[in-house]
């Protein structure tokens, strides 16, 4: 339960501020900043991060440093600054000790992020290779949460490379993994991926995808971050749009409401790729409805995001905050 994480951390930060050791307190702050990044967007998170760095000035404070790099990487990915993302990935790799079997968590995170960067760069085979090797490592060291998320990542890679059928078993495996370990949010996102995969298989699976989305929605909306929420809204709209029995002109709200909500969330997140998708869908919907003014507006926003994605102008900007 995400709101409970925040609440309990706040309890700690408020009540035990005078008694706790600095490393524990900094951990509490790190958790809070993570929450901020996921739920309120990067600008708020970086603002808080600055304050936290002032509060714990010791440069050796690895937790805060790590957090900073994670946030920078996420933001670079979302903005489409792939070179920066790659650079941060390499830094991650350097951080961990070179002895095998040590710093496993850091290493898995590094390679997970590498795979995601590769995925964003559309180098699917390499991404899949990294993910596969990562899966074997995780399996070897019994890291169940990572196992599930790597499987999900693999499913995602196959989906993006238009191999929906290959992706299905991975998504299903991830889902059953999550079920047995009570990882509800991850399960919900696995279900969402499953829905996306079904949707990719053709419009006659739209009903099934829709019911899958409905299944995962309460969980995602309650506890998921901005990105996940926006994704689920997009999938919901897509399900409606691909369903041959659904007609936009009859019930435009069923499509436009989720899309608007997704656009709002993505604005905060600065996620160009998905925002572009949202505006594309919006423009299409308005086109169907015959609302030209709105269509033009959505199309313009779509163009904006696409150009931002394709010409990462201010790459240096990504490292400052």
């Amino acid at each position: 339960s995400a709101p409970m994480v925040r609440m309990n951390t706040l309890v700690y930060a408020t009540c035990f501020a005078d008694a706790a050791s600095s490393s524990e307190l900094s951990l509490a702050y790190v958790k809070l900043i993570e929450q901020l990044a996921v739920f309120k967007g990067y600008s708020a998170a970086f603002c808080a991060l600055k304050l936290a760095e002032e509060k714990f000035p010791s440069s050796t404070n690895s937790q805060i440093h790590l957090l900073k790099m994670q946030l920078l990487h996420e933001r670079a990915l979302h903005r489409g600054h792939l070179r920066i993302a790659q650079q941060i990935c390499d830094e991650f790799g350097v951080l961990s000790s070179s002895v095998s079997g040590v710093d496993i968590e850091l290493k898995t995170e590094a390679s997970l992020r590498r795979a995601r960067t590769l995925l964003a760069a559309k180098q699917f085979s390499q991404a899949a290779a990294v993910a596969n090797s990562l899966f074997t490592t995780c399996y070897k060291y019994n890291m169940q949460v990572e196992n599930a998320s790597v499987l999900l990542l693999l499913a995602e890679i196959h989906r993006k490379s238009d191999n929906a059928v290959l992706g299905l078993p991975y998504a299903l495996a991830s889902q059953s993994f999550c079920k047995s370990f009570n990882l509800d949010l991850l399960e919900a996102s696995a279900t969402l991926t499953l829905a996306e995969l079904w949707l990719a298989l053709g419009s006659n699976h739209a009903k099934r995808a829709l019911s899958l989305v409905y299944q995962s929605l309460p969980m995602i909306l309650g506890h998921g971050g901005l990105e996940l929420r926006a994704r689920s809204q997009i999938v919901l709209a897509k399900c409606h749009l691909t369903d041959p029995e659904f007609s936009v002109s009859e019930d435009p709200c069923a499509v436009l409401d989720p899309l608007n909500q997704a656009a709002e969330d993505l604005q905060v997140l600065e996620y160009h790729e998905m925002a572009a998708e949202v505006y594309y869908l919006k423009a299409m919907t308005y086109n169907h409805l015959g609302k030209e003014y709105e269509r033009e507006e959505a199309a313009a926003r779509f163009k904006e995001h696409v150009t931002a994605l394709e010409n990462p102008r201010d790459e240096e900007d990504s490292l400052v905050y």
């Binding site: 339960s1 995400a2 709101p3 409970m4 925040r6 609440m7 309990n8 706040l10 309890v11 930060a13 408020t14 009540c15 501020a17 702050y29 809070l32 900043i33 929450q35 901020l36 739920f39 309120k40 708020a44 603002c47 808080a48 304050l51 936290a52 009570n182 509800d184 019911s211 409905y214 299944q215 929605l217 309460p218 969980m219 995602i220 909306l221 309650g222 506890h223 929420r229 709200c253 069923a254 409401d257 989720p258 909500q261």
Partner: protein
Amino acid sequence: LSLFPPVRPPKKTSPKKPPTKQQAAMAEEQMEEASSSAAASGTPFQLQFDKPIPFQIKLAEWNPEKDLLAMVTDDSKVLLHRFNWQRLWTISPGKCITSICWSPDGKIVALGTEDGFVLLHDVENGKMLRSIKSHDVAIICLNWAEDEPLSRTDKEDLLSYEDRTTRFFPPAPVMPRIGGLNSGDTGLADENEEAIQAFSSASCQRFNILCTGDKDGCICFSIFGIFPIGKININKVPIHVQSSGKRTSYRLQDVSISKVSLSRNLHQLVLLCSGKLINTDNLSLSNDLSVGVHCLHLDTSIFSNRKNELHQVSQQASSIQDLVEVVRASISMMSKQWSNAMNLFHEKFSALPSLLTAHGMESSSEDEFMSLLFGTHTSPALHQFLVSSLGEAGLKRIAKTIESAGRELRIVVSEHLQPAVEIISFRLAELRGLARWRSRFQNIGLDEKLMDGVTERVGMLVVQVERFSRVAATVLYLFQNFLSWVLKCVKILLSEPTDQVPSTNSELVVIFLKFLLDKDPIKQLLETDQIFEWDIDTAKHVEHLVVFGGFTDTKFLERSLAKQFSELEESLKEAFLMPFTTVSSQIHCQGLLPLYPVTSSDALSSTSTPASIAFYKQDKDSQHNASSYSSTDYICFKIPDGSLNLRNFVAVIKDFCNSCSTSNTPSLSGFLLHIPVEYECVDLSLYKDNQVVLLLSGKSSSENAGRSWMVMLQTENLSFSQFSRTFPANYYNLQELEALELQLDTDYGKVRSVPHPLSTPLAVSASRGVACIFSSRRHALVYILDEDEDEDEDEGSEME
């Protein structure tokens, strides 16, 4: 409920172990008569037994699942009997009970009282589970309808929602018991708590709604009988009637509801009420005739269309409300415990200042203790206080009391308060997730902003609880330290050995004297109207945390725990009021049918006129496929003598709802039944498979006095004639209906004579096929209404 295995009515056996010889003889006589008459004329209903009961029964209702009969006596005792007339329990709630009904699963009996309470009692032991005040005046009728699993289609099954709380949390905490140490009846209390727990978890299995109608025309709906979801006032509902292309709006005044019934698919509600019908377009068109009994059809499709959402929300919300009660009880109990301990402490230590003034000294008690601590001198006043008025024994007593109070506080916080608050916050987070799903949950009024506010408040409460436990621990330690220091001093003054006394920290004694001798932070935290001043550091820290996503209300630490809790309650109330009002506003009146006029003098008695409403599934539904079945409503009522210039008539109407909503479905039809002159209808009830059971009692003037009849009519055998439901003002369409003569020897249905004058009520059970009737000579008679299949065959073969 393994206690009550379903009992099939035994075939033609006399009741086991009759209490007295006389009764046994009587019962045998009855049986003989029954069998002989059955042999002679094929008497249809078999008499199971005939038992005297020492009460006048006012209301009776069979359990829908088990062979249990709940009865309410004239002096408002509730009795529960098994089918073999073994009494299970008797309770007297101490209030006048005006209505009764069972929950659909038969585990709870709901009682409506004269002062507007709904009481829910456990079937196992008769313990009260809840008491909910939803009305201001007497509740006349109750109806508890459950959603049918049949109406659920495959698509909705995928939307099934899991309550995750049980997976992540241990069972919810229960209310702390008051006076935990010395209560002798702990066993009982435990059982009760368990029952409540079981109740809240078990009742959430399937969606059901309890409707209650009161004397002033209000109808309340509550999910699971506990979570209020809607309330409408019939006096304020506009009624639009389409008559000959023209739309006329009406309104009812001085409504008193006499019967409500919600269909099994929760789609429609039919109610009978008496009141004055007013044409709002043309007020002059009302006269005496417009006062009468009317039949209304309300569209409650919101319940069936949104049942998944309502189910989820009410499931979470009702358990949140339970937990809020737990928190409230915990806080009040802690404050009681602590103030008891503090009273003792202050009582003892207040002797010191008066002693000081008696000795003519101007110093305060704090100064005196300080000087004692730093060894300057011991004033005679303090010496006297410590040695004689306080003494070692008194000191030890205080120490013991405070220690035990502290232990209680710790237990309450750790076992009740904290888990309760935690589970509340988890459930609220789930609810917030649902609230974010706007397209589904906004139309049942779950508001995202309000839920956010509540989540924020509960977060602050969690912090407050944590702070409270910290403060309590500190204060307790300081008290302990101080008291053992004082004990040491006393021993020194008495020149006794001090090696038994634990060592003390004099620094902490100073802190105690400075901050605790006159103040009481625990009490402050438990009272609502206290304001705390926190040092600048903490305030800054809290403001700082806002940047990190902390609570935006930075002043929350100034509030006390109790204040924070009451704020949480307020916002919860506000948040849950939204669904309540939203749902209420979506219940509309669909149709109206004036049944019969009543003169204002007997308007009061009209509520007791026998009537029955039931919904039956339509068997042959050619137009729709099997999944979307529809149901037919049957309304059966007695027309009071003199009304509509009819005497001794009973009316049966069907398809009222369907005629309101659509035009192509079978239209409104019905018939009137004329009861032979020498009898009067005492009570009536609809029974399964479209049958009507009538109780006729001989009029006292005729020669048939003392003889009665129970009649079961197959309505399909009777000719329904259609009649129009459009009406001009003050016109009662019932007059158009054909009147049939009921003859007791015809083959309309089954007839059986009863050798007693009968009185209300008549209780029939469709699931068990039995009827219980009550004679005015305080006898209860149970009849089997339909024989088993094999018995029917037997009889058939006998006839052959």
